[in-house]
């Protein structure tokens, strides 16, 4: 059975599966609304972080203003909801399409710039947009934002399930989109090729412009879904969704979790976001939490420079040196080619003598 052969033998996938099941059963574990709220936010932010990773981690187009897509979609959904009274099931998709469109527009300078310079240009876009929002405050609500949006669902548990379902589907699509070993799509490979060396990719006959814009649009679209869900969940679309700190936070989450992996940013958000929220409940939490967060980040970057998930993965998984199949670290022989994964001390000593 493919499930037993390709999921249960790899510890990383088992952990991902267990995590998914836990998320689905979470409302049964606790009925506490505050905790449910934190997990819902974590799910929304993990979608946002994964969309950043698709663009910056995989395609190598550094975006330091990712809040733009999130905020644009939040505002677009809110305006559609308040002025046209569309249902939630229309406002969020339309909002995310606006996000994708903005992604294409932001992608245009990306065709000429790269690295930190592109980062600086993308950084400017959300600042421009917040300026526009404050200028047309009659229409956009200005400082207070647009409030009184319709709910995702009447009760918290249903809303939780709606969010989880949409987030899981979206993350799965992005996982397939960026998977270099996929049997259907080859975009994952091409995006990585563009990240590694754009010139070589072009000389290999790949239209890099098309794929870079595609990455921007996809990333904008899914960040838009996150933005729309967020706006409808808290029922406010405010200028805070466009703040600089919100753009930077997604970079921190993704780097802490592991850039260039889809599960990394998810893990990063689900570890860091609840942590910062829980600290708040303790005395002086509000002041301490950013110091603590920075400490965690500095330490993690020192000891786990590739991110926490990659660090854990290397501990529990091992690649067969011969056939490059992933094995559990506990195995002595490769599950595919039976080559020994490592030698015992005794064998090691014997090998020298022969």
């Amino acid at each position: 059975m493919w499930f037993r052969k390709s999921v249960l033998v790899i510890p990383g996938r088992v952990i991902a599966l267990l995590f998914g099941i836990t998320l689905l059963l979470f409302p049964l574990i606790t009925a506490d609304e505050a905790i449910l709220r934190i997990v819902t936010f974590a799910a929304i932010f993990s979608l946002y972080a994964v969309s950043w990773d698709t663009l910056s981690g995989y395609t190598g187009q550094l975006s330091l203003g990712h809040a733009l897509f999130f905020g644009v979609a939040a505002y677009a959904s809110a305006l559609l909801d308040l002025h046209f009274e569309l249902s939630v099931w229309l406002t969020i998709p339309i909002g995310s399409c606006v996000g994708a469109l903005i992604g294409l527009i932001v992608g245009l300078p990306a065709l000429r710039l790269r690295g930190i310079y592109l980062g600086l240009v993308t950084l400017a876009f959300p600042i421009i947009l917040s300026g526009i929002i404050f200028y047309f405050s009659d229409f956009t609500g200005g400082e207070a934002g647009l409030y009184g949006l319709s709910r995702l669902a009447e009760d918290k548990v249903t809303a939780y399930y709606i969010v989880i379902a949409i987030v899981m589907c979206s993350i799965f699509i992005m996982f397939k989109f960026t998977d270099a070993k996929s049997r259907i799509l080859r975009t994952g490979l091409l995006l990585r090729a563009i990240r590694e060396d754009e010139m070589t990719a072009r000389a290999s006959g790949i239209d890099t412009i098309k794929y870079k814009l595609l990455a921007f649009a996809i990333s904008g679209f899914f960040a838009g879904i996150a933005g729309g869900l967020y706006a409808h969940y808290i029922r406010v679309a405010g200028p805070s969704t466009l703040e600089l700190i919100f753009s930077i936070q997604v970079v921190l989450w993704a780097i802490f979790g592991g850039m260039g992996t889809i599960y990394g940013p998810v893990a990063g958000v689900f570890i860091l976001y609840p942590l910062t929220e829980i600290i708040r409940f303790y005395p002086h939490g509000e002041e301490v939490r950013f110091i603590l967060l920075s400490l965690i980040l500095i330490l993690s970057l020192l000891f786990m420079p590739e991110g926490i998930t990659v660090w854990v993965r290397d501990k529990i998984e091992q690649e067969c040196t011969r056939c490059k199949v992933i094995n559990a670290a506990t195995r002595r022989t490769c599950r595919a080619c039976r080559a020994p994964m490592y030698l015992t001390k005794k064998e090691n000593a014997n090998q020298g003598k022969e």
Binding site: D197, A201, S204
Partner: protein, 255 residues
């Protein structure tokens, strides 16, 4: 009159005040191997980059199979059947060797039906096998030695199934043994039939090279350039006797 396969007319490139390539014109036939030689800084690499439109020419015209390709996107030129290798190897370092070549097999002309991903993989392995590095297919490109990287570069170029292959110093930095091997595979490639386009001829080639002894064995004609100008186009036997060429390489005999 038949249209020449590749025709270069009055190609010129200025870098600020420096005229790197000046008024270069030549043609290449469909079944020809042409060498491009010249002293350091003569503009050989620039010329290749101009043909691929990695650099934009200041003036001039390049036609491939009668179609004007001056100023078209590099990727589009590659898909029209002209591929090149780089002098300085630039692989996708973190991707496996096989994936490096697979990227080149994914051009828009690849049919995307049925088991196409499998076909692409097989074609990539075929190209690697042809260049003799199929055993390294699963290793990341960053662990390869320079000679293997050169061969990977060649595999990547031929995986695009070119009709015209521009090779920028394919023997650069290779050991004598490796040079013989690569020269051998280039000859086989030109004969055709073996790789990719099974029922067709091998690609025409334009080879930039400094190892003249190896180069002269492969090529039908040699183009010599110096200071961006063509100083001789002739068969190898005559080129080595040409006065201008000797002068460019060794200098004038002083009296």
């Amino acid at each position: 009159m038949t249209v020449p396969f590749l025709q270069v007319e009055n190609l010129t490139k200025d870098f600020g005040g420096l005229r790197a390539v000046e008024d270069v014109s030549f043609t290449i036939d469909r079944n020809e191997v042409v060498g491009l030689i010249g002293p350091n800084g003569a503009g050989k690499t620039t010329l290749i980059r101009l043909l691929m439109n990695i650099l934009k020419p200041t003036a001039g015209k390049v036609t491939l199979k009668g179609e004007d390709i001056t100023g078209q996107k590099t990727a589009k030129i590659v898909n029209k059947g002209m591929a090149s290798t780089f002098q300085v190897v630039k692989p996708f370092r973190h991707l496996p060797v096989a994936a490096n070549v697979m990227v080149a097999c994914l051009s828009p002309k690849t049919k995307r039906k049925g088991e196409w991903v499998k076909t692409v993989e097989l074609r990539a392995l075929d190209a690697l096998e042809f260049c003799g590095i199929a055993d390294l297919a699963l290793e990341p490109a960053s662990v390869l030695s320079h000679g293997d990287l050169k061969r990977l570069e060649l595999a990547r170029a031929i995986a695009t199934e070119p009709e015209l292959l521009l090779l920028d110093e394919p023997f650069g930095g290779l050991s004598p043994a490796e040079t013989t091997l690569v020269a051998g595979s280039l000859r086989r490639l030109h004969k055709g039939g073996r790789f990719g386009r099974l029922h067709s001829e091998g690609p025409a080639m334009l080879i930039v090279e400094h190892k003249l002894s190896e180069l002269m064995k492969i090529v039908d004609r040699v183009i010599v350039i110096n200071f961006g100008k063509v100083i001789a186009i002739d068969v190898p036997g005559n080129v080595v006797k040409n006065k201008d060429v000797i002068e460019a390489y060794i200098g004038k005999g002083g009296k």
